[in-house]
């Protein structure tokens, strides 16, 4: 029987090395029964898009704390479209000013999780989206 688990790529784009959040989320999603691949640090949008294709993931979770989201997110969304990965759900977690949220959603980011979000809220969001 094929593995029906939701496949998630947790990625840490940009130069920032603060990976506490990325690692906590990776572990929480794994404990919730998802198949989680963590890219490690300093991934360019190209690297993330390629990993998403290669791993054939349902969800990409980006952890961004550095303020580079307005540059990184649109680049990644464009690359995903070019690679035919339109159906992948892209989530962002981190420090995102509220004023930037509408434009990020416009670019195709499905949801943005701000500091203080419980891991359960993220698990619920993903599971609802991929409920059989």
């Amino acid at each position: 029987m094929p593995d029906k688990r939701i496949r998630v790529l947790i990625a840490k784009p940009g130069l920032d090395g603060h990976d506490r959040g990325a690692k906590v989320i990776a572990r929480a999603l794994r404990d919730a029964g998802m198949e989680v691949i963590y890219t490690g640090l300093r991934q360019t949008p190209e690297m993330i898009a390629s990993a998403a294709v290669q791993e054939d993931v349902n969800v990409i979770g980006l952890s961004i704390l550095s303020g580079a989201h307005n540059t990184i997110c649109p680049q990644l969304m464009k690359l995903l479209r070019e690679k035919g990965m339109d159906d992948v759900t892209v989530l962002v977690g981190g420090i995102i000013p509220e004023a930037d949220i509408p434009a990020l959603k416009q670019s195709g980011i499905a949801e943005i999780f701000l500091p203080g979000t419980s891991t359960q809220a993220i698990i619920d969001f993903i599971q609802k989206k991929y409920a059989a």
């Binding site: 990976d19 990325a22 303020g67």
Partner: protein
């Protein structure tokens, strides 16, 4: 005192122990007062723990200090083991340095903020660099896109550094610089500005963070592999001892370890074991402990669990004294005394109801002051959203001034000394840290422990445990998982892409105006010197011998080689580091 009795009296005491022997008065209190009270009204929780999950007893009494000797474990301020502080008069003599970390945008933007903070009573500078600078990339490198000037100030060359410290006399102000892998380069830029201003290197004072070990452990802003990185750190030690006796070439940092989710004990243990690792590498270089170790400084997190933090600072001084005197035979009291900077916990701040952060920060700062800090940064209320606005940064500075001048806590030295609870907790935190330190010793030291991801894994475990405790509401964050309410969004500082554009223009001009042949020559000399090192060239006495790179980095900086060019020269020789990602 003979060596064996000394070792015995200095051994860490543990007080949560099965052999705790309460006095007959305490037993009678338990029977006659406590038991009926508990029968009538049970306590709110089955178990009480610190923020780090360390168990806390209902009541501490003399029974918790039976193995504790006030003469050897407490002593007096300014004398070993420095539990009560490193100076005889502590904050009665001199207040801690109020050192607010600042940096954003271009060098002009940050220079303006620096001069604003100095004008408002700040007593030392502290520089935050942007991510490209921290990673050794120029502002116009492709990987810098979107990151220029965002998390700190963009510094790509000496020309930027000259602007950063324009109209700030480096002979009068002390400066801390939060820079690690590229620390020798940024320090060389600072020294070049000092020289241009006519400041005497022997007199200038400040601190370079330069703590690469905690980068591998926690913050992950590393460039080169551990061995050449450690070489560069020891090069700065040598250079500092010789040329800048008042400058701390390193700030051995627990701050980032704690921010990554460690417990207080892990923060303490990993930081002090890092300190020992640097000492051991410097000794292997042939340096003498009492020549360089007085210039080592430390940096701790001031987190939210008030007494646990105070115990941590007190235990830190005790551990360092024991380590340098017993392990390395230090004889100089300036080597024995652990000096530290502290910063309130960024990770404790909430994006929700951000004005509550002023209160958190004030209480955290108070713990650092009561723990005997030498300098302090208080976070701004908006830092869960962005770098601070001037408004928020001013309140943060005022918080320190209120503690210093209104609360009265500076009137006496170590007011908590002798408290059953504080002394017992200090003992426990110390004992817990020594357990970790001995484990890392057994692995062959901190570099070896890092290579097998030991501290990284311990921190990830602790951080996950804490997140689960929050999710289950076993630990409460006000405004986040309890006491939630609606609020208005905050006005925050936005850094736009014009900063990157201004940096691109400036770098283009720099590259056009400088002597390229001079730059090429300086970089070539640096590369040759970098190549002189490999472990197999250890000399017969076991000391690692190679050329100190600081003078060559300084020459390259003076020729206006950029940060990226200098770091690239070393990248080609040393290679770069990739960690094994653990989740």
């Amino acid at each position: 005192m003979s060596d064996s009795t000394k070792a015995k009296t200095l051994a860490p005491a543990t007080s949560i122990s099965p052999e705790r022997k309460p006095s007959s008065e305490e037993k009678s209190w338990e029977t006659n007062i406590l038991a009926p009270a508990l029968a009538k009204a049970p306590e709110r929780q089955k178990q009480f723990t610190t923020l780090s999950g360390h168990p806390i007893r209902r009541l501490y009494t003399d029974a918790d200090l039976t193995n504790w000797d006030s003469k050897t474990q407490l002593a007096h301020p300014g004398e070993p083991p420095y539990t009560r502080g490193i100076h005889a008069t502590m904050h009665r003599g001199r207040l801690w340095t109020m050192r607010q970390f600042a940096g954003f945008g271009t060098a002009e933007d940050t220079n303006e903020r620096f001069r604003y903070l100095l004008a408002h009573g700040q007593t030392g500078l502290s520089t935050a660099f942007d991510l490209p600078t921290l990673m050794g990339y120029d502002s116009d490198h492709p990987l810098s896109e979107g990151e220029v000037g965002k998390c700190g100030v963009a510094i790509s060359s000496l020309a930027d550094m000259e602007v950063l410290f324009d109209r700030i006399p480096l002979s009068e102000v002390t400066t801390s610089m939060t820079i690690n892998s590229p620390a020798p380069v940024i320090w060389a830029m600072y020294l070049a500005v000092a020289e241009k201003q006519g400041a005497d290197w022997k007199q200038i004072a400040g601190t370079l963070q330069n703590d690469i070990l905690k980068e591998y452990i926690a913050q992950k802003e590393y460039i080169y592999p551990p061995e050449p990185s450690m070489r560069l750190v020891i090069d700065t030690f040598e250079f500092a001892v010789k040329h800048t006796p008042k400058f701390n070439p390193i700030s051995i940092s627990g701050y980032h370890i704690r921010e990554a989710g460690s417990t207080a004990i892990q923060e303490l243990a990993f930081t002090l074991r890092d300190g020992m690792e640097y000492v051991e590498w410097a000794l292997r270089r042939g340096m003498q402990i009492d020549d360089f170790a007085p210039q080592l400084s430390f940096f701790f997190n001031a987190h939210s669990d008030f007494f646990e933090e105070i115990a941590k600072y007190r235990a830190a001084r005790r551990i360092w004294f024991k380590a340098v005197s017993e392990r390395y035979g230090a004889k100089n009291p300036r080597t024995w005394a652990l000096r530290f900077h502290s910063q309130t916990a960024g990770c404790s701040l909430t994006a929700q109801q951000p004005f509550n952060n002023v209160v958190r920060t004030a209480l955290q700062a108070l713990s650092a002051v009561l723990g005997g800090t030498q300098s302090l940064h208080t976070n701004s209320l908006d830092e869960a959203w962005a770098l601070p606005t001037e408004f928020a940064a001013t309140i943060a500075l005022r918080t320190q001034q209120i503690i210093a001048h209104e609360t009265g806590v500076t009137n006496t030295v170590d007011p908590l000394g002798g408290s059953y609870f504080v002394e017992a907790l200090t003992n426990e935190v110390e004992a817990g840290a020594w357990d970790y330190i001995r484990k890392i010793d057994a692995m062959g030291g901190m570099v070896a422990a890092i290579e097998r991801s030991y501290p990284q894994r311990e921190i990830a475990e602790a951080s996950y445990r804490y997140q689960l405790a929050l999710d289950k509401k076993e630990k409460i964050m006000v405004g986040v998982n309890d006491f939630v309410s609606d609020e208005r969004p905050l006005e925050i500082l936005q850094i736009d892409e014009t900063v990157a554009h201004r940096q691109h223009v400036r770098l283009k001009k720099l590259r056009a105006d400088r002597s390229q042949s001079e730059v090429d020559r300086a970089l070539l000399v640096l590369k040759r010197a970098a190549e002189t090192y490999n472990a197999s060239t250890a000399s017969s006495n076991g000391h690692l011998s190679h050329e100190n790179l600081m003078p060559h980095i300084y020459s390259a900086v003076k020729a206006y080689a950029t940060l990226g060019e200098i770091c690239d020269a070393m990248r080609t020789v040393f290679g770069t580091y990739e960690e094994t990602a653990i989740t």
